[in-house]
């Protein structure tokens, strides 16, 4: 709690620092003179060559009209065909109001220049009309965007092949396709003073726990910052414990995974301009689950689940155990084994910790090099790393054979963990454990384990225990933890998410012909 209190104090002081920018300057009203308005616009947007101000006469209004927008942020065909053309081609001075002429869905009035600024920058087209103290905002967004593709980081075998893109509205639409339910509510906030970002909270109103939602909202409202460019930045500003290596929110690019979490009673946050969606509250175990688990047969899925948890243990502790056993507690392993290990270490001049560090760091470098490189060069890195270094380093007597095996096994294990953030956390912990093992042997590893457990069980995500359902133990959730029991056996939503309405299905147990 102290951490949170401290954070709150820090946030409060950040609020003071930014307060000069958020003092409401009395907004200038839109005047009824068109030329005044245009002058005002020109003083507001100096050095803005992409601002288009088109004045024209239209039959149905007395005086002229000005159409204002930023090129590139609007859909040109929509502006030309649905706004300009009807206004220009209107011949008769019929009774039709201007609203009836604009063939665009969303049109609304705005009255001051604050709003004008925001709408223009958001990609709307504005119509200023001589003699009216208001402007019409016409929604004509249309900025350059990417097509919907398979998400790269979370490829799925059997799940949907749609990933989020950089437009918040599209992402919300993708989620809505999975949840056509009026109880799925959206709360919108604008975060960032200099470059406001639309942040939308999506949740099932009759399922989510109001306290969890409130906590999430409060934290988002407290943010005072220039701008957030990415979901990751938002996550860092709202998480419970900033010093933990573990991700405290789930980040995903998959709409089906978001939908499944919302159905479990969690809150999803769509950040405009970012292809990742934040989901909270997250639990430690949820980082080991994957949408594919639910579309494979449950025995297979269970096996894969167990594999992942084993991979977590191996990736965290294996090099540490090796170091401990080789340099400290060699009496634990049988004589024959220690002899063969000794034989392979015969020519190696380094202590086991250094040997392990060399190999681990090499591997991390190779991985990091591969990430940023284009695919063809990436393959070369793989070959150079895998074959040349792996083989040569042993032959040169720098690293022992067994160490290469240990490191390779560890690396493979860390790739099995389906969530990238969790896998990265495990990588960091590994070095900590290696250090402890090199200093204190098995005792060091156990102390490290104790600290890890202590940290995991005291960590919280949005005030919900992170270790749940392991600590506090909630046996009802264990159906979907190490095992993935048949779907029809999970009649209730997981208790770990803290929901107010927990029933999610009736009795669906398949009965053969016999009954």
């Amino acid at each position: 709690m102290g951490m949170r209190g401290w954070l709150r104090r820090r946030r409060a002081s950040a609020k003071d620092r930014f307060s000069h920018s958020s003092v409401p300057v009395p907004a200038r009203e839109i005047s009824d003179s068109l030329s005044d308005n245009i002058t005002e616009l020109r003083t507001m947007f100096t050095l803005t060559p992409d601002l288009v101000i088109r004045t024209f006469e239209s039959k149905f209004v007395e005086g002229s009209v000005a159409l204002v927008y930023l090129t590139g942020l609007v859909d040109k065909s929509s502006v030309n065909n649905n706004v300009l053309r009807p206004l220009l081609s209107q011949q008769s001075e019929g009774p039709a109001s201007i609203y009836d002429l604009l063939s665009v869905g969303k049109v609304f009035n705005i009255y001051d220049f604050h709003e004008v600024e925001r709408q223009i920058l958001d990609g709307s087209s504005l119509l200023f009309i001589e003699g009216r103290k208001e402007a019409l905002a016409v929604e004509t967004h249309g900025w350059p965007q990417r097509a919907i593709e398979d998400p790269q980081l979370e490829a799925s075998l059997k799940g949907a092949h749609q990933g989020f893109v950089e437009t918040g509205m599209q992402n919300i639409a993708l989620i809505r396709r999975y949840l056509p339910n009026r109880e799925m509510k959206i709360k919108e906030y604008w975060v960032g003073d200099r470059a406001p970002t639309r942040v939308s909270l999506l949740f099932l109103a009759d399922v989510v726990h109001p306290e969890v939602l409130q906590e999430f909202e409060d934290r988002i409202k407290l943010i005072r910052i220039d701008s957030i460019l990415n979901t990751g930045e938002l996550e860092e500003l709202v998480e419970d414990n900033p010093y933990s290596p573990f991700p405290q929110f789930m980040m995903t690019e998959r709409p089906d995974s978001v939908a499944s979490h919302i159905l479990q009673g969690k809150v999803a946050v769509v950040v405009d301009r970012s292809p990742s969606v934040l989901i909270g509250p997250a639990t430690f175990a949820s980082f080991f689950q994957n949408v594919d688990d639910y579309s494979t047969r449950w025995l297979v899925a269970t096996f894969i689940r167990l594999l992942r948890f084993m991979a977590f243990l191996v990736a965290t502790f294996l090099p540490a155990v090796y170091i401990a056993v080789i340099s400290f507690n060699y009496e634990v392993i049988p004589l024959d084994l220690i002899l063969s290990v000794g034989e392979s270490r015969e020519r190696v001049p380094f202590p086991p910790l250094l040997e392990a560090m060399i190999m681990e760091l090499t591997l991390e470098m190779l991985r990091e090099a591969g990430v940023r490189l284009p695919a063809p060069i990436g393959q070369t890195v793989g070959i150079v790393g895998g074959i040349v270094i792996g083989q040569a380093v042993v032959q040169a007597g720098i690293v022992s054979n067994i160490m290469v095996i240990v490191v390779a096994f560890t690396a493979i294990s860390s790739f099995i963990i389906p969530n990238y953030d969790m896998a990265s956390a495990v990588r960091l912990l590994r070095f900590l454990m290696m250090g402890l093992a090199a200093m204190f042997g098995i005792i060091g590893i156990v102390i490290g384990m104790m600290g890890l457990i202590g940290h995991l069980i005291s960590l919280e995500s949005l005030g919900v225990p992170y270790g749940s359902p392991l600590a506090p133990v909630r046996f009802s959730d264990w159906k979907d933890l190490f095992l993935r029991l048949p779907l029809w056996s999970m009649k209730n939503r997981p208790a770990s998410a803290r929901v107010v309405q927990s029933k999610r299905q009736g009795d669906n147990r398949p009965r053969g012909d016999g009954e």
Binding site: G2, N329, E331, V332, I333, P334, L337, F440, G441, I442, I443, G444, I445, V446, I447, M450, G451, I453, G454, H455, I457, S458, P465, G467, L470, A471, P472, V473
Partner: protein
């Protein structure tokens, strides 16, 4: 009104919390202590000790039922007034601190002897202090989760002991009561002290979510501990000969030493390392209630400042002074004596006082 609503414990957490506190350093030396006093009849003493502990813990739960929403620390000022209350509270804190220190110092001592003979004690103290702080700073809620999780994580340990079954000789246990009842009773003194830990119910009761299970829970906790003690003792008795067992300081460790697999030798080292988990479930609660008491005394709700000071004191203390095993024995004796008073004598007197008071009041309550 509900001062402790934030820190509630579930029934299982309450059970494992008390069970974890009871099973600590004693398990390592218990078979020897019993064998010295009562020979291979020592296991009967465990049963007697279990009955005594269960009675005492039921008395405590019954006493605390009369003061809903209050821990012992809240009650002390009510009974003793402000200044005397301070003194009594300080004594309670000292008792908890002594218990925690004894277990930590013993743990460090054993690790020093058995595994890390070159490492100075204060380095091990630093090592133990770090995870301790990480858990205890979270308060009782986190401690409850910890106790529960550790119970499940260490379940494999008693099961592995079964692998010495082929080598055990059950005739060692016969004849039952070879020297009569007297040695059994004299050994009971040490067993009832092994069950110490249930006295934390004085603190725990108001934190319990469903109070109707308080009595049942504490009986289950005592029974679990009894089963563990019984398991280890009976297996040691059947494995070592009755004379051999008294020669080992920690027969339990020697018992593990003989277990051997084709891929793993010297399991005792792994066992002792994991035994630190058992020790932690004893020290952490005592540590928590030490700082809980002191911070309540000065009237602050945040126990972390005191915890931090205590941690530094432990490290500095370990740096300045390394207790010998004879010192540790003395500490244990002092803990046992105070534990006898706090865990057995006070509940009985208190309970009798309540009964007398009730009778004195006459038929008002029926």
């Amino acid at each position: 009104m509900k001062k402790y609503a934030f820190n509630e414990l579930t029934v299982l957490q309450y059970v494992f919390f008390i069970h974890g506190t009871q099973v600590g350093i004693g398990v390592l030396s218990m078979p020897r202590e019993l064998a010295e006093e009562a020979g291979t009849d020592g296991w009967i003493s465990i049963l007697i000790g279990w009955v005594c502990a269960t009675v005492a813990s039921l008395l405590i739960v019954n006493i605390m039922k009369r003061y809903p929403g209050k821990t012992i620390v809240d009650l002390i000022p009510v009974f003793f007034g402000k200044w005397l209350g301070m003194v009594v509270s300080a004594l309670v804190a000292c008792y908890c601190a002594l218990a925690a220190m004894t277990v930590i110092a013993n743990g460090i001592g054993i690790v020093n002897v058995w595994i890390l003979s070159q490492t100075p004690g204060y380095v091990l103290a630093i090592l133990t202090v770090i995870p301790t702080y990480m858990v205890v700073q979270g308060g009782l809620r986190v401690l409850g989760r910890y106790a529960e999780l550790i119970f499940y994580l260490t379940l494999w340990m008693p099961i592995v002991v079964f692998s010495i079954l082929p080598y055990s000789n059950w005739l060692h246990l016969l004849p039952v009561l070879k020297d009569g009842w007297m040695p059994v009773f004299s050994a009971t003194k040490s067993t009832i002290l092994s069950f110490l830990g249930f006295e934390l119910a004085f603190f725990l009761y108001p934190f319990l979510q469903r109070k109707q299970y308080a009595s049942l829970g504490i009986v289950v906790a005592n029974t679990l501990s009894m089963l563990i003690f019984m398991h280890i003792t009976v297996f040691s008795f059947s494995f070592f000969s009755p004379d051999e067992i008294t020669q080992y300081t920690w027969p339990t460790l020697n018992l593990w030493k003989v277990i051997e697999y084709r891929f793993l030798e010297r399991i005792d080292i792994i066992f002792l390392a994991f035994y630190l988990f058992f020790l932690s479930t004893t020290t952490l609660p005592y540590m928590y209630f030490t700082v809980f008491t002191t911070s309540q005394m000065v009237g602050s709700a945040d126990h972390r400042k005191h915890l931090f000071i205590l941690m530094i004191l432990i490290v500095v203390g370990a740096w300045l002074y390394t207790p010998t095993f004879i010192d540790l024995k003395k500490w244990s004796e002092v803990w046992s004596m105070t534990g006898m008073v706090g865990g057995y004598i006070i509940p009985v007197i208190w309970w009798l006082a309540i009964q007398l008071f009730r009778r004195g009041k006459g038929g008002q309550k029926g």
